[in-house]
């Protein structure tokens, strides 16, 4: 009952004309960046955060969240029509979606993608609505030791399972932890690693790091080989048949549950959720051989799961203040820019923010269904915009976004340097997500560590004497050991099969 009352409060705020407008702008922008390969939701959200400072904080968060879940809808369009997924999450969608398009069934594939996204997106918000307050009340009992163990666990999982190499994941994460320590120490007021530079006193800008890591390398990688995106596919009728919808309904429900659960886990990105759901669906299918050849259930499984994972990812953010993936990390940055700290107290201190955001997601999903069913032809035409036209504009908008954050040209230099660093890291297969997540989590982790050690007079036994922190630290160790073993096994297989370089 309490949940429904809160939801009613959320809806009463979310349906204000301003919030409806910002929701529409967010989901439209999300669909646009999802359709356009080369500019993802992470970079877009990072660029827009500083520009939202003058907005009402709720409207700003509604718009930024809209970009995230909207991009999941949009990315399937280019995946189905031109076999170029706008987002990694739609790689799986392209397996069957593009095959359907080649058979002249692009319309039903796009339609099923929109319907599955809508069903799973909406049902997963129901999950978020009931699961998040429950988790939040559990997390209220967390002390500094549990908080440190939780951040340690979250980062360890990410370091272990992102990228091909464990050591590269760890190096990337350590770099993020250390970059965040530059500047003034909030606990003591002491300056660290600033070398008397006034620019470094306030620390390295989060926006500069995020835009530098995600927008600049994207442009540089694409500039190596410029290609013109153009599609030839005929769309035809958009709605799938009634039989197709009935056939795919169980798939959509399964995809919702799988996507939501995967989304909660650190590192459980929409792409991973889509893959897991598709794999399970193929295994239980009556005709598994049709998967990869244009099975409409394949499109529903992938799209349903990746949309559901976006809501799942909000659970650890809203209840623990821990972002499980890069777009959620940027969303955390947006909360912080607007002086709202996500975590166990968020539901008590800012219920209007959380519940308006949740209510806006219901509205946003309806808007996305309308945008992606009747207007799919318009988004499809956008796939034709050549990359050389978009890329220079992204660079200038990135510049404006970073400069606007603190009105500092120094931050723009930081963006460029981090961008070049990000480009080299991507080429050498260093994962970028651990760096940005560690950069964001570093102050929380340091505070929790210092407070714990102060409470225990310097004894690290505090982390092992409390059941929750002990469990989390053990899980972190198990995940590190597991990652190490699985990589060794993988290397052995590669060596035996002579697959070096693949």
């Amino acid at each position: 009952m309490d949940v429904l009352n809160h939801l009613f409060l959320g809806f009463s705020n979310a349906i204000s004309p301003a919030n409806i407008l910002w929701c529409l702008i967010g989901v439209s922008l999300g669909t646009l960046v999802g359709v356009l390969p080369g500019l993802g939701p992470v970079a877009t959200m990072a660029i827009l955060i500083p520009l939202t400072v003058k907005l009402n904080h709720i409207s700003a968060l509604i718009m930024l969240a809209g970009i995230y879940y909207g991009s999941m809808y949009g990315s399937s369009t280019s995946a189905i029509l031109v076999n170029i997924p706008g987002e990694p999450a739609s790689v799986i969608t392209s397996l069957d979606g593009y095959q359907m398009a080649k058979k002249g069934l692009a319309g039903p594939a796009l339609g099923m993608s929109a319907i599955a996204s809508f069903v799973a997106g909406t049902l997963s918000i129901v999950g978020l609505m009931f699961f998040a307050p429950l988790m939040s009340s559990l997390a209220l009992g967390f002390g500094p030791a549990e908080m440190f163990a939780l951040t340690f666990f979250a980062l360890t999982i990410l370091f272990s399972f992102t990228g091909k190499s464990l050591s590269k994941g760890l190096l990337s994460g350590c770099l993020g932890l250390l970059l965040a320590t530059i500047g003034i120490d909030v606990q003591t007021g002491a300056l660290r690693f600033t070398h008397n530079s006034p620019h470094l006193v306030a620390g390295i800008s989060l926006v500069a790091v995020v835009v530098g890591l995600f927008a600049v390398p994207e442009i540089l990688i694409n500039a190596e080989k410029i290609s013109l995106y153009a599609y030839q596919t005929h769309i035809g009728r958009v709605l799938p048949t009634k039989q197709d919808i009935i056939k795919c309904l169980p798939t959509m429900f399964r995809a919702t549950v799988i996507g939501f659960m995967v989304g909660i886990i650190p590192g459980g990105t929409p792409a991973v959720a889509g893959f897991v759901s598709y794999d399970i669906e193929r295994k239980i299918a009556k005709k598994p051989q049709t998967f990869g050849q244009g099975a409409i259930e394949g499109v529903a499984a992938a799209e349903g799961a990746n949309n559901s994972a976006t809501s799942g990812g909000l659970v650890p953010l809203l209840t623990l203040g821990i972002p499980p993936s890069a777009p959620i990390a940027v969303l955390l940055g947006a909360f912080l820019v607007h002086n709202i700290t996500p975590g166990p107290l968020l539901f008590q201190e800012h219920p209007e923010v959380v519940w308006t955001l949740i209510a806006s997601m219901y509205i946003g999903n309806v808007m996305l269904l309308v945008l992606n069913l009747p207007l799919v032809g318009m988004w499809a035409r956008i796939c034709r915009v050549p990359y050389p036209i978009i890329a220079p504009l992204i660079m200038v908008i990135s510049f404006l976004g970073v400069y606007g954050d603190r009105n500092s040209l120094f931050d723009v230099w930081v963006m460029l340097i981090v961008g070049v660093m990000g480009y080299i890291m991507r080429k050498l297969e260093y994962p970028l997500v651990p760096l940005v997540l560690a950069f964001i989590v570093s102050p929380i982790m340091e505070n929790a560590l210092i407070q714990s050690l102060t409470l225990s007079s310097g004894s690290i036994m505090i982390f092992f004497s409390r059941p929750i922190s002990l469990t989390l630290i053990l899980l972190a160790m198990v995940s590190l050991a597991g990652a190490l073993l699985s990589r060794k096994r993988q290397a052995k297989v590669v060596e035996v099969l002579g697959l070096e370089g693949d």
Partner: protein
């Protein structure tokens, strides 16, 4: 690629050592409690150890690994020029203001990565710069860098 792997590992090792040593000088403990340098010391130490292992691993493996090219000549040229143009753009924007360097920057980038006619490129860079200026400076009232020429 192999050389870049080695160089990156070596740079990370240097960075790890820098943070470790600097953290010690900041103070690891004060009055029995963890000091200002405690957390970065831990991070720096882990970075040093892993980058050292990574460097040793790279030196060992690379002898048997086929050298993969970084990119083709055209790709490398594009990357270097984009970074150079962007650095020049950031530098000049502080002196000349937003508008003129943006027009030149957009023209330079679109010229580098596309094969449109000069007329189209000029229209694109002029129109985009003015639209961006109108959106950000006028509509959002964002304080853009002002120099000698706007």
């Amino acid at each position: 690629m192999v050389l870049m792997e080695k160089t990156t590992s070596a740079l990370l090792l240097v960075l790890g050592l820098y943070f470790t040593v600097q953290s010690v000088s900041l103070g690891l403990f004060s009055s029995g409690k963890p000091g200002v340098g405690f957390f970065p010391f831990l991070g720096g130490l882990i970075l040093t150890i892993i980058s050292c292992a990574q460097l040793i691993g790279t030196l060992k493996i690379c002898k048997d690994t086929l050298e993969k090219p970084w990119s083709d000549k055209q790709g490398i040229r594009n990357i270097v020029l984009i970074v150079a143009f962007t650095a020049l753009y950031i530098w000049t924007i502080g002196i000349l203001g937003f508008l003129i360097p943006t027009i030149i920057y957009l023209l330079a980038l679109v010229d580098l990565i596309s094969e449109y006619s000069l007329k189209k490129k000029l229209i694109y860079s002029l129109a985009s710069s003015f639209i961006l200026f109108l959106i950000f400076a006028v509509l959002f009232a964002m304080p853009l860098p002002k120099g000698l020429l706007w």
